[in-house]
């Protein structure tokens, strides 16, 4: 079984793939991109919840750090949720400029967020939670999105 770090990092990459497919479809027409945009948002939401409801919660319990890095990551998830909603609004308004302006911002926010998680937080989580790694990955894998 993959470690927490491997599992979540691989999930980042599969969200990136969906992001690229979404932009590809949107360059033809925004209506054509509607489905894939929803798919990307759902996949991202699932990733956020796997972290917030499972991994972050375990990490916070183990380390006692509730106002530290996980609070910041939760805050950035909220920023991204806001931008994802704007993507759907842009599709409804048929506003391509706004759509691609938003994807540009979202992409940078997403990647600098991912870098911080992959470079630091996941490494630290893996160190603290190595004994429970399999159980946590299993919980994330079987989680139902709320």
């Amino acid at each position: 079984m993959s470690t927490i770090q491997e599992y979540l990092t691989a999930d980042h990459r599969s969200c990136d793939e969906l992001f690229a497919s979404m932009e590809e479809a949107a360059s033809t027409s925004l209506q054509a991109a509607k489905e894939i945009t929803k798919k990307f948002i759902d996949a991202s939401e699932r990733h956020f919840q796997m972290e917030e409801r499972v991994m972050f919660a375990e990490f916070e319990q183990k380390t006692g750090m509730t106002q530290g890095p996980t609070a910041m990551m939760r805050h950035e998830h909220e920023q991204m949720r806001g931008l994802m909603k704007q993507l759907l609004d842009a599709i409804e308004e048929e506003n391509k400029d706004r759509f691609f302006g938003t994807t540009e911002t979202l992409m940078i926010l997403l990647q600098q967020h991912n870098m911080k998680e992959e470079q630091m937080l996941y490494t630290m989580a893996q160190q603290h939670l190595s004994a429970e790694s399999d159980r946590i990955v299993q919980m994330m894998d079987s989680m139902i999105v709320e």
Binding site: R98, G101, E104, T105, I108, L109, M115, L121
Partner: protein
């Protein structure tokens, strides 16, 4: 493990990088005017006072400022490091470097030993006050990724190059320029450009190209070894340059081939990127790859031509390869910082990154920049076009300044209004 980069109160305030970014084009404009007022024959002599002054207005004033601004922003994200008292040291460093570059240009043009001495002191102080805390902070990093390793190596080359540069400038202040100075000047320029800037660009590209363009990743061998290989090449080159100059071409070939391989890798990865958007920043990356490949081959073969074309090669590498990447990066980073800091302060109605800049003006800026660099290169053979190239360069840098000030004005305007949400709990500095 240091987790400083994961909280906004530890990340640098927006003023820290912007201070450096907004000043950089002003020095490029200054360099443009100095070129406009110079004879082409003087400029194409590497050791003329005018060439040295103009080169440093660009290398320190533009490239140095952009890199320092970017490093402050990237280190917390890429390495999770906290730079000691970042707000205050960026302020002091910025002031010292602005005075340092202005004094250096003035001191060299007007042959003033005292002003040159002041320039050396200000420049060494301005650089080291930032570089030393960065190097110290990097020592605590646990997860030493290839990018962090490259940044660390690059900062070591930077520190040595700056100290050597200071020594050379002291030489101008005391009027003692000897044969040793010329050898040392070679090491200073090659280590600064290839060691400091080149290795930094390679390290950042490992991370940025696959992530931001959803492009294939760099091969593990490339990520793990290329920085070591180039660093070893630079050390061997310095040794050969001092003791066996007739063999220095071996090390030059070594270094050039690996930079060429890197340029080709970036080109191929951009071709295979998953994101379809092709904006001006992609054009800048591509332009940079072309100039990087031509520049390094030219540098390699120049050894066989008694270094006759060194100034053209410097224009290709410094102006074509490095400047392109820096400008492209500014177009991404400045609008993003504005969005990010406003959003973190609770503002929700922020223009998108694309709405903060005018796409047409970005393209005009790119075309003028490209024409100016090509013009500078060909003015070696056709001196009459130097004036037009300088004018094109000045105009492109004025537009660059406009393009990056525009998002900052958006920030200034919005920050005066009331935020949509109270985010004071996150306590971010402005």
């Amino acid at each position: 493990m240091e987790l400083a980069g994961l909280s906004t109160d530890q990340a640098p305030p927006i003023s820290a990088p912007l201070r450096f970014f907004l000043t950089a084009p002003l020095f490029a404009i200054l360099a443009g005017f100095l070129i406009l007022l110079s004879e082409s024959s003087t400029l194409f002599s590497r050791y003329s006072i005018e060439s040295i002054a103009i080169t440093h207005a660009i290398t320190i004033g533009f490239l140095g400022f952009v890199m320092l601004g970017a490093l402050m922003q990237m280190l917390p994200v890429l390495a999770g490091v906290k730079i000691y008292k970042v707000k205050i040291i960026t302020l002091y460093s910025h002031i010292a470097l602005v005075f340092g570059v202005v004094f250096m240009v003035y001191g060299l043009y007007f042959s003033s030993p005292f002003i040159n001495l002041l320039a050396a002191i200000f420049l060494i102080f301005g650089f080291l006050i930032l570089l030393i805390p960065m190097l110290i902070a990097l020592r605590d990093v646990d997860n030493f990724s290839p990018t962090v390793k490259a940044i660390n190596t690059s900062l070591i080359f930077a520190t040595i190059s700056i100290l050597i540069g200071g020594y050379l400038l002291f030489g101008y202040s005391s009027g003692t320029i000897t044969h040793i100075h010329l050898i040392v000047a070679d090491i200073h320029s090659v280590w600064a450009i290839f060691g400091f800037v080149g290795i930094l660009i390679i390290g950042v590209a490992f991370q940025v190209i696959p992530m931001f363009y959803v492009a294939p990743r760099f091969k593990p061998f490339c990520k793990r070894r290329v920085v070591h290989i180039i660093s070893a090449g630079l050390l061997v080159w310095a040794f050969l340059n001092i003791f066996y100059p007739e063999y220095e071409y071996i090390a030059k070939t070594w270094i050039s081939l690996f930079f060429f391989a890197f340029a080709s890798a970036v080109w191929v990865k951009l071709n295979n990127r998953r994101r379809p958007t092709s904006d001006v920043t992609v054009w800048y990356w591509r332009t940079s790859c072309i100039f990087m490949s031509i520049g390094f081959f030219a540098w390699m073969f120049n050894s066989y031509l008694d270094d006759e074309y060194i100034v053209i090669i410097s224009i290709i590498i410094g102006g074509g390869f490095i400047l392109s990447i820096m400008i492209g990066m500014l177009y991404k980073i400045v609008p993003f910082l504005v969005w990010f800091h406003l959003n973190a302060k609770g503002y929700m109605n922020i223009p998108t990154m694309n709405e903060m800049t005018n796409k047409k003006i970005l393209i005009v800026q790119f075309v003028l920049y490209l024409l100016s660099i090509l013009g500078f290169i060909f003015s070696y053979f056709y001196p009459d076009i130097l004036v037009y190239s300088a004018l094109s360069f000045i105009l492109s840098m004025v537009l660059l300044e406009y393009n990056i000030i525009k998002p900052v004005l958006v920030y200034v305007k919005i920050i005066k209004t009331k935020p949509d949400f109270d985010m004071s709990a996150f306590n971010m500095d402005v």
